[in-house]
């Protein structure tokens, strides 16, 4: 107990003194109270399990799509490493989950997104272990679900393939940061204005910053999507409109 206290006494001033150099756009380690940290883990778990089985199914029954699984995972890797400037004068990064959601469905990206977030939390101090559930929920559950839904809806209403992909990826990206704002507001309500007041504050930071980045993410996703559709006979995808 004493040792624990000593460590605590050593660490806290260190945290205060050291300038914060790690700028992560996910919720930072330790910034969600235990109740919320655990709740988001529980809510996210079913999507991860479903995603894991879907990935396994694809690898087993359609082995020529394994390469495309690798591409969509690598795409998340690349885009979430790109911190881009935004009109608000701060930086954030795209998520890259839209491409995979459009090609493989949302839960596959829940599983792949978790792996990327875990990597960043452990090796880059970007995001965190305690906030992994919440960050996975925003980036790898809601983001892909919105991307997939918007893409399908766009196709149904007769939009061109590339336009539907653009809208799906851009809105999926934006929704991730709206959810991040909601998660932070729920955990840190404003003492006078409550959850809503603090939601407005977090939204103005995360969501507004994200608007131009969402556009960039949409554009980059369409570029890779265009390239992939060139190779649809090499084990790639036959989209409904391409047949």
């Amino acid at each position: 107990m004493l040792a624990y206290r000593l460590i605590f006494l050593l660490i806290v001033p260190l945290i205060v003194i050291t300038p914060n150099i790690t700028f992560a756009m996910h919720i930072m380690e330790g910034y969600l109270p235990p109740f919320w940290a655990i709740s988001w883990f529980i809510i996210t778990l079913p999507f991860i399990i479903k995603g894991f089985y879907n990935v396994k199914k694809i690898v087993k029954s359609e082995p020529n799509k394994k390469m495309f699984l690798a591409i969509v995972a690598a795409f998340v890797f690349v885009l979430s490493a790109l911190k881009l400037p935004s009109i608000t004068g701060s930086c954030s990064h795209p998520t890259g989950v839209g491409l995979g959601a459009v090609l493989f469905g949302p839960t596959v990206m829940s599983f792949l997104g978790l792996i990327v977030l875990l990597f960043q939390a452990l090796l880059l101090a970007h995001g965190g272990i305690t906030t992994l559930g919440a960050n996975t929920f925003s980036m790898a559950v809601i983001g892909p679900v919105v991307a997939y839904g918007v893409y399908k809806l766009g196709k149904k209403s007769g939009l061109k393939n590339s336009v539907a992909v653009f809208l799906g990826a851009a809105l999926g990206d934006l929704s991730t940061y709206v959810v991040t704002s909601i998660q932070l507001a729920l955990a840190h309500p404003d003492p006078t204005g409550g959850i809503l007041a603090s939601l407005v504050k977090f939204m103005s930071i995360f969501a507004i910053t994200q608007i131009p980045l969402a556009i960039v993410e949409g554009i980059f996703t369409v570029i890779v999507f265009n390239l992939l559709t060139q190779y649809k006979f090499e084990g790639g995808f036959l989209n409904e409109s391409d047949n």
């Binding site: 806290v12 945290i15 914060n20 150099i21 790690t22 700028f23 756009m25 919720i27 930072m28 380690e29 330790g30 910034y31 495309f68 690798a70 591409i71 995972a73 690598a74 795409f75 998340v76 890797f77 690349v78 490493a81 790109l82 911190k83 881009l84 400037p85 935004s86 009109i87 004068g89 701060s90 930086c91 954030s92 960043q120 090796l123 880059l124 101090a125 965190g128 272990i129 305690t130 932070l184 840190h188 003492p191 603090s198 930071i205 995360f206 994200q210 131009p212 556009i215 960039v216 554009i219 980059f220 570029i223 890779v224 265009n226 390239l227 060139q230 190779y231 006979f233 090499e234 084990g235």
Partner: protein, 96 residues
């Protein structure tokens, strides 16, 4: 329009969207959005102390940017490798 032309135009627009904030808002700091979120959290609940620390943090922003560069290049490498493989496969199928 050829796919390559289309993609080049898209890439150009993408780069423009990235550059625009720096041209329009040149004096800004361009710090991380999460750093700003931290400020808000401290304002909203001043008593809140993060209850968990990362096991390891990159010792400097230089090392952090190296790690991010590695992350991006691993991803790009995988994508480029597979794209090249597919292109070769497609070409050899046509030339048979």
């Amino acid at each position: 329009m050829k796919v390559t032309t289309k993609n080049l135009i898209l890439l150009f627009i993408g780069i423009l969207v990235v550059l625009l904030p720096m041209i329009l808002n040149g004096n800004a700091e361009f710090g991380g959005a999460d750093g700003m979120a931290e400020v808000v959290i401290n304002k909203v609940s001043p008593d809140y102390k993060p209850w968990f620390e990362p096991f390891w943090e990159p010792p400097s922003s230089e090392i952090e940017s190296m790690l991010f560069a590695i992350q991006a290049s691993i991803g790009t490498g995988i994508i480029a490798y597979i794209m090249g493989y597919l292109k070769g496969k497609k070409n050899s199928a046509y030339n048979r």
